[in-house]
Amino acid sequence: MQFRPILSAMRRNKVGAILIAVQMAITLAILCNALFIIQQRVALSERPTGVDDEANVVVLDNQWVGNPPDQAARQEGDLAALRSLPGVQDAFATNSVPLTDSGSTEGISLHPDQKTASARAALYFGDEHAIASLGLKLIAGRNFNADEVTEKVGYTDLKSPAAIIITKGLADKLFPNANAVGQSIYDDFSKGQVPIIGVIDRLQVPWVSAGGWGSTFNDSSFIVPFHIVIPFPVLYVIHTQPGQAAAVIQAAPKKLFDISRARVIGKTRPMTALRTEIYKDDKGLVVILGIVCVALLAVTAFGIVGLTSYWVAQRRRQIGIRRALGATRNAIIQYFQTENLLIAGAGAAIGIALAVSLNLWMVSAFAMQRLNTGYALIGAVVVMLLGQAAVLWPALKAASIPPALATRAA
């Protein structure tokens, strides 16, 4: 294939060629950044919580009417009743669970004289039932003993925990080179040390948004052995036997109302529902970007079809002459394909530069990560294939121009 005649023909149609190249460049820049964001959001919404089986872990909000003085005893009664329900494996009460976007954080220090905290971590309240109820995996040390669990009355109760269990993520941050079990952290309230008795594989923090609170310490959490007694809604976490979640969601509120009606039960739902709800906007973003990408490719393709068809129509006589002088149909098709490849190639080159600079700007303006260059290359290939596909129909039409046309008057 000779490039010279194509280039000189293009010079007579500069603006059209430039328009297509610029369209392809912008398409490429948007496409690969959008694909990158889509991939990131999907990965974000699939992060594990550390809970073994989210479909069978049910979360229920319970709030007492008034501030009953015997709240701790009532709560223990509730939990015992829940554990006795058919299909329930275990249950406990806590301030928060992953995927709720609401909870507490603490800066963790190892020594009293530290100016800045060693790590930031989410705080979960629990007792000896916490690990089994959430289905967490204890990878070192031991669970809480019943005698380590005390009452914590409201968030203004500054009592210190007897011991704590931390996640592997937090352990790696605090003690990168040592076994965390047997170590201790410093407690601001008691001015003393609190021993670490166990390490769990994973327990995600409650906050999930990309670049938001919690995004820098997503796998750093710790559990303190407290029965939480607060004038706010408390979460009851129930681990059901496989397949029993729906039955327990029906039975649990009924059972609790049988014990006392002086309460408000908010939602009762499995953690899979929490996951769907909390990532809804991320999923929405993925779908919207997907639709825009498809529309973008379609618009660009139709633009190429439109302009190339026009060029074909403009050059009918010239094409007829070429055919009469012996050019094959394939040669005509190849002409338009090569022409499009040249334009698309130029567009892709500009597009990759545009994509990278767009991404760099987004990194500085938003909570975005650096674009993997693979995406730019994938985008370039997609855009060039799109060009080839779009040009095929006008090229075939051009190839079907009869050589006899050359002999007729214009």
Partner: protein, 440 residues
């Protein structure tokens, strides 16, 4: 003249129906995508209280000092977003602004009078009476509680229309009683529809939500030890245990707003705040020079990033998409006009001026833009419907089309398409009549 050109444009568009349809579709899809995201952006970027947004100020006081372990990451000013109880009371007592109110989010279980109805949870805002006059909340019945009620920690409440419907079945409920966690509160006012979006006065909690269902005096809530249901940040000194300990601590959990009608008031309040902080330094509470800040509603929304990154990205993507669509339409227009070079040549030879040709082609572009804008409007409605089904309930509140958006869409479409049509139109005006006639 215009009508004649319009007729010419329509006839010319009809002659090449496929190209015309492609152009209109390209403009329409681009307008649809960009108007959909622009609607959400405008809702997020909305001025929630336009008549007073330059007179209402959020107050910040640094009560943790430069050495404190943690402020929110990325905060360059080293300032907390909320203030402590000590400072809330200090500023309320000083009464240095025209109006002022400390406030926080709390909640309770409401037990209906009918024993067959189960108790339910209500979201409460504890605040001062100035809240209502400062934010110009509409009252359907009754009025705010009095300053005496603030002073006396009275058991009074202002409820929303929605809660009024739920508890009392609507109507004028002033004087009726409502039971919150076992305590009776007397209803003094029922609010009309009021939901500033975003909820600028407390951006920590449901930014685009419906806000509190019930309002009670701040002093009464503190007296009843009703803790904050919003953000509590105790990264400073946690203080002593218990409720009294929390009140005397440096924990921040209260929002504070002041109304300062004139520029002189603003300057005076700045000076007052710095004096206040300097006093705290003198008394030994702060070990650092005064560090305070006030921001009006607009500045506050920018500071707190009310428009999310996701929406900014979507706006960017969709407007780039619109650009691609316009380039596309421009290419097609160019093809169309150059295909009619013969026509134009004849018309020029018959005496049409360049200017006339230019005007005729530009009107053609405008017609395409207008049609694209109409299509874009339909697609925007479709897009917003799609968004509502995709997004969470809170985000869905941002997907309502306002009448202003309709004119924005049409103007944007016509303007952008005409702009894109400038080059093809200029090329048309350059057609040399003699060459065209010779080629024929």
């Amino acid at each position: 003249m215009f009508n004649y050109y319009l007729g010419l444009a329509l006839r010319s568009l009809k002659r090449n129906i496929v190209l015309t349809a492609l152009m209109i579709a390209a403009v329409g899809v681009g307008i649809g995508a960009s108007m959909t995201t622009l609607t959400v952006f405008r809702a997020m970027d909305n001025d929630p209280i336009p008549q007073k947004s330059r007179q209402l100020f959020a107050v910040q006081i640094d009560n943790w000092g430069p050495d404190s372990k943690s402020i929110v990451p990325g905060d360059m000013e080293h300032l907390q977003e909320q203030i402590s109880y000590i400072d809330a009371i200090g500023l309320m007592d000083a009464k240095a602004a025209h109006r002022q109110a400390a406030m926080y989010k709390t909640g309770a279980a409401l037990t209906p009078a009918n024993p067959d109805v189960l108790p339910f949870q209500v979201q409460i805002r504890a605040t001062y009476t100035d809240f209502f006059s400062m934010f110009q909340t509409p009252f359907q019945a009754g009025a705010p509680w009095s300053t005496d009620d603030d002073k006396n920690r009275a058991d009074v409440a202002v409820i929303t229309q929605k809660l009024n419907d739920k508890v009392f079945g609507g109507g004028n409920s002033v004087g009726k009683s409502i039971n919150l966690d076992g305590h009776e509160f007397r209803v003094v006012g029922v609010l009309g529809v009021w939901a500033p979006t975003p909820q600028f006065y407390d951006l920590n909690n449901d930014q685009y939500g419906e806000g509190a269902e019930l309002y009670i005096p701040f002093t009464r809530a503190i007296d009843g030890q009703m803790g904050s249901w919003g953000n509590n940040n105790c990264s400073g000194d946690p203080g002593q245990p218990g409720w009294e300990g929390r009140l005397h601590s440096e924990c921040v959990w209260i929002q504070f707003w002041a109304e300062l009608p004139a520029a002189a008031d603003v300057a005076a309040y700045r000076a007052f705040l710095n004096n206040y902080a300097a006093d705290q330094q003198r008394s030994g509470r702060f070990h650092w020079p005064a560090h305070t800040r006030i921001r009006d509603v607009r500045e506050w929304l920018v500071y707190r990033h009310a428009v999310s990154d996701e929406v900014r990205i979507l706006v960017l993507v969709s407007f780039s998409f619109l650009l691609v669509c316009l380039l596309n339409a421009m290419g097609l227009m160019l093809a169309k006009i150059m295909g009619r070079a013969g026509d134009i040549g004849v018309r020029r030879a018959l005496g049409a001026s360049r200017r006339a040709i230019f005007g005729q082609c530009l009107i053609e572009a405008g017609v395409v833009g207008f049609a694209g804008g109409l299509l874009g409007l339909a697609l925007t409605a479709l897009g917003l419907m799609g968004l509502r089904s995709l997004l969470s309930e809170e985000a869905s509140r941002l997907t309502h089309f306002s009448p202003a958006d309709i004119s924005i869409a049409i103007v944007l479409a016509v303007l952008a398409t005409t702009l894109a049509g400038l080059y093809p139109t200029w090329r048309a005006a350059q057609v040399q009549p003699a060459w065209q006639l010779k080629a024929q």
